[in-house]
Amino acid sequence: MRRTTVFGYNMARQSARRRLVIAVYAFLVVLLVAGWLLDHLRTTGYYIYFAGYLISYLVLGGYGSSGLIKPFTGKPPRTQPMPKSLIELELRYSGALGSPDPEEYRNDERELARRDRVHYQAYQGIIVLLAVIWFIAMWEQHPPRFLPAGLLPILLYLVVLPAILLAITLPQAILLWTEPDLDSDPQEENAPAALHSTR
């Protein structure tokens, strides 16, 4: 992981990250229900898709330079991230601050193995959803007697939209869910103690 905070909340602990994953999916479910109540997701469905994409990009990370998880590609962003303060902005314009350090974004062997594994696991989950879409699509062509014919297109849409949302967010969610607690840097912990001892 590249960052350990989201909206000021510390995400170094696994429990905090799991709460974040639950909150993200709960938020998306609330959006889906609200969209259904508003216009049966006809227009709001697209906005919910973009909301899911923004959450994936800005909060979860992985497929962008922002977010908790390092970019899966291991490449630094082409453009610099937003400056955190006016001082940083001024330093950047004066040339005192260079481009982002590529080492900060590079994945080590363990991170690459974890990245590949969570994508394999997410793939298995999406295959299950794809099987559900199969059945509904087949039923749409040959409607069974126990289901009203008008219900099937809506059902198909109701499965496809969450499937796309899951496909966007699932690898990052699995990674955040399973990654253990991040140990604080022992050098940082020892530094104040060393300072105290020198005094």
Partner: protein, 197 residues
């Protein structure tokens, strides 16, 4: 990946060249078959192609144990004893006794698992782009459509998506796996025997 190296049970897939030829032929035949079904036989026959995407992909292996790519995971088949669907490989059901239906297969080693996971990552990150493009351009096509028309278009798209989703990891493995160099230790004893004789 050293286990079954055959496509469609008889086409050899030993060299990288033949594996790449299999991948190209697989997609060309599938596309031709889908177009033939859609244009000549109608949407009802095209619908039957959807479940077939899984079986077509399993010909490449990965999803089944009969293909050039080794089986991906143990939920399809237990690795340790070679049993399948609850039938023990070493002590098969009396009905299956004497039939070579169930053969124990080797456990995936670290290299196989790394290759499998990497192929899935590449497939996943590749399939994200069509999903993003579809979501960006779908409003232009579908905004004023009826739910029936939306479902029809989703259904038409679902076949190529399912075909790619099921087959892309295997295709990536077949495409990228290099040729295995012959082990010099295996060849050297023979030369030693020749030189002695």
């Amino acid at each position: 990946m050293n286990a079954p190296r055959k496509f469609l049970l008889f086409i050899p897939a030993e060299t990288q060249r033949s594996r790449r030829a299999i991948v190209i032929a697989y997609y060309l035949v599938f596309i031709a078959f889908a177009i033939w079904l859609l244009w000549l036989r109608g949407p009802a026959r095209y619908a039957r192609l959807l479940p077939m995407t899984y079986f077509w992909a399993s010909m490449l292996g990965g999803l089944s144990f009969t293909g050039p790519v080794r089986l991906f995971s143990r939920w399809q088949r237990k690795f340790q004893d070679g049993s399948a669907w609850g039938i023990d490989g070493s002590r098969p059901h009396p009905y299956l006794a004497g039939r070579p239906l169930i053969q124990p297969i080797d456990r995936l080693d670290e290299h196989d698992i790394a290759m499998r996971d990497r192929a899935h990552y590449l497939a996943y990150s590749t399939l994200r782009w069509p999903a993003i493009a579809a979501a960006l351009f779908a409003p232009l096509i579908l905004m004023d459509s009826s739910p029936e028309r939306v479902a029809h278009i989703l259904f038409l798209i679902s076949v190529p998506v399912a075909a790619l989703f099921f087959s892309l990891p295997q295709a990536i493995i077949l495409w990228t796996e290099p040729d295995v160099e012959p082990d010099p230790q295996e060849s050297s004893p023979q030369t030693a025997v020749h030189t002695v004789s």
